[in-house]
Symmetry: C2
Subunit: 408 residues, 2 copies
């Protein structure tokens, strides 16, 4: 029914390293839009070792522009994995004790089936013929990887931002498949303001003539400028005003005085331009459309008569909800709505608001209080389930600190 | 030295109604960038009557996308003036008692000299050859109109957002020209986050191939898509999350279910697209670049050893500083910095934070507490100066309520 092609098929592996699960036509992915997807590929990475009774698996869901390369050098950018601070020996997701799985979402662009991959019916890249996927679809697809690995029930589902949406979705629809859930910097639905910022990004991409109605890959074009503007817009929403002020303020970039022109006079402009330009090198514009759309569509309460608590009725899982004080994209008020709903559903929930001025991005950064929270929650859950516990090892990140970003 | 050409020169008047001041080569505008501008035109509107001793003038400074048509139907859009709720008989800026002047800023696109007007040296539109103007330049230019009208000292300088920057700039550099200042939803400098959002807008415009390196007017093109994305981005920053939630939430637009596509499923998407598309019909893309740049460059403290209080040393004016609780673009913290600086400079200052969930846009809307605040401040100042006072007349705005916006 499903085949691991990690070392078999160069056509499927492409240039990217790692595991592949091929989903065949005999059991296609059922999508919320009504379409089915098969054959389909899911690209994933693992860290640590699965124990004998397959009880130590943690499924890490990535966010909008993340991918499966969570804890290793990224094969395209060469930069450290996006959650290297979190995953590794002696880190909260301790690879000495846990088996970590991270899967590129369908609709993504790092090896899993998505709009840039070939549509087997046409032999051309899917483009906008790719079906719109939802957070629910992403989770159902990833459970196929668990099935393939023979894991009935994961120790923990964890993610930040869109990753947190997936963790909550899995807890709601597939409660029998997990023992615990950690949802960070996320919400039970995407707010009007968040939809608005995503729509700006999509409009920027679709306004770029090089988008070619979504067929840019066939026509050897890349909507670089539109995708860069989309990334710049999103990036500002990931940071807090205090963080921008602290990092850049009104400091000038490589000059002593204003230029009275439209160059990047200010460091913050130079930084944003760099963020936009470098993103284009690693991300597919159509994937950006699809994944933002999935987030916009996410609304756990909507399928439960508008009552969020009903999404978690009788959930046996332990929940840990984390927010950051300066995150205005997924503010603490949204986390509290989740906590209220979980309490109303009589779930086992702990909630921590982490003091940080780093905005939404804090979930990706070296935030000791946040890491200690996750470590404590995971250790406590491990103890209950009779799994080994362990201590954090202090990190000296050096040049691999994700907070050290180039600004020009 | 300066000529009012209101009824004289069809070349200068173009199709737009209203007054024009022509600044001749014998006394060019000196700009902060070092360049001079002449001939130059300033287009302005007035409401009410100037009294015999010319002591009842209020100079209203418009914001980024505003113009001189503050209190009458807009000649391009046909919509009510942007501050009609504020200006008129029985309104806070009472035209029965005050003479209101509103001038299109240089760099603008509603008749004043700006990048879309003809560069007399080339006979072609200025485009990016137009010099970068500052908030200081805008104020110096507008004082020329006061000179022309024979007004030595205005009763009040008032503005919101960029208009507030101009009011503060005038108080700082030209204190002898005003009795009072009302600065609403503004700050003493543009923050890193605000610069970032402006830079996104500029990049969106400049990414549009129809921008043609700024020469689109010569080439009969219009960078519609880029300008629309810029407007959409800015528009989201003008609203608060609660306002977006209240107005739109996750409600769908003209449909009962998700489309699983990239149409405007959500009302908030449809609204934003409309905002972008309609803006393009009335605003010039290069003007957008220049005016956002002027705001980014604004930093009152920078020219006073970084000490904001020094910008207001010995200012004899009465100040009224107003912020709105949900304005995250120009938050109350920025208003308080102004108030602290004014207090440190021993200025006469009152500060009011208005409770509103409408975000930055609140300064344009029918906010009774805000209007009552301005009315009280203006009446108090009038009393001190021996000018007549008056009462507010309750407004029934009906269809002219600026809060009633089309959403599709």
């Amino acid at each position: 029914m499903a085949t691991d092609t990690s070392s078999k098929s160069p056509e499927i592996r492409r240039a990217l390293p790692g595991h592949r699960l091929l989903i065949g036509k005999e059991a296609p992915l059922q999508l919320d839009c009504g379409a089915t997807l098969a054959p389909a590929v899911l690209a994933y990475q693992t860290y640590g070792e699965l124990n004998a009774d397959k009880s130590n698996a943690i499924l890490v869901f990535h966010a909008l522009t993340g991918d499966q390369f969570a804890a290793e050098d990224h094969p395209v950018t060469g930069r450290p994995g996006w959650w290297e601070v979190m995953i590794g020996p002696g880190r909260p997701l301790d690879t000495r004790r846990y088996f970590i799985i991270c899967i590129n979402v369908p609709g993504g662009c790092m090896g899993s089936t998505g709009p840039k991959e070939i549509n087997p019916e046409t032999g051309k890249p899917w483009g906008l013929d790719f079906p719109v996927v939802t957070i629910g679809d992403m989770v159902r697809a990833q459970i196929r990887v668990l099935d393939h690995l023979g894991i009935d029930k994961i120790f923990c589902a964890i993610g930040g931002s869109m990753g947190g949406m997936q963790a909550l979705e899995m807890a709601s629809r597939h409660p029998e498949r997990l023992h615990s859930v950690i949802a960070v910097a996320t919400a039970g639905h995407h707010s009007a303001q968040n939809i608005a910022f995503h729509e700006i990004g999509r409009q920027a991409i679709m306004a770029d003539p090089d988008w070619r109605g979504g067929r840019y890959l066939e026509e050897n074009a890349v909507p670089r400028r539109g995708l860069a503007v989309a990334r710049m817009t999103a990036h500002v929403t990931y940071l807090s005003e205090p963080a921008l002020h602290r990092k850049f303020g009104r400091r000038l970039q490589d000059r002593r005085a204003l230029s009275y022109g439209f160059d990047a006079d200010f460091q913050v402009e130079s930084y944003l331009r760099y963020q936009g330009a470098s993103f284009v090198e690693r991300f597919d514009a159509n994937s950006y459309l699809y994944i933002t759309r999935a987030m916009d569509y996410f609304d756990l309460a909507a399928d439960h008569d508008g009552v969020l608590a009903k999404a978690f009725t009788h959930s046996p899982a332990r929940f840990c909800i984390v927010s950051f004080t300066s995150d205005w994209l997924f503010p603490t008020s949204e986390a509290k709505r989740l906590v209220h709903a979980l309490n109303a559903a009589a779930a086992d929930v702990s909630f921590v608001e982490i003091e940080s001025d780093k905005g939404h991005d804090a979930f990706l950064l070296n935030e000791p209080e946040f890491h200690a929270t996750l470590h404590g929650f995971l250790n406590g859950t491990a103890e209950r389930l009779g799994l080994p516990t362990g201590d954090l090892i202090p990190i000296d990140l050096g040049d691999r600190d994700p907070g050290k970003e180039r600004i020009s």
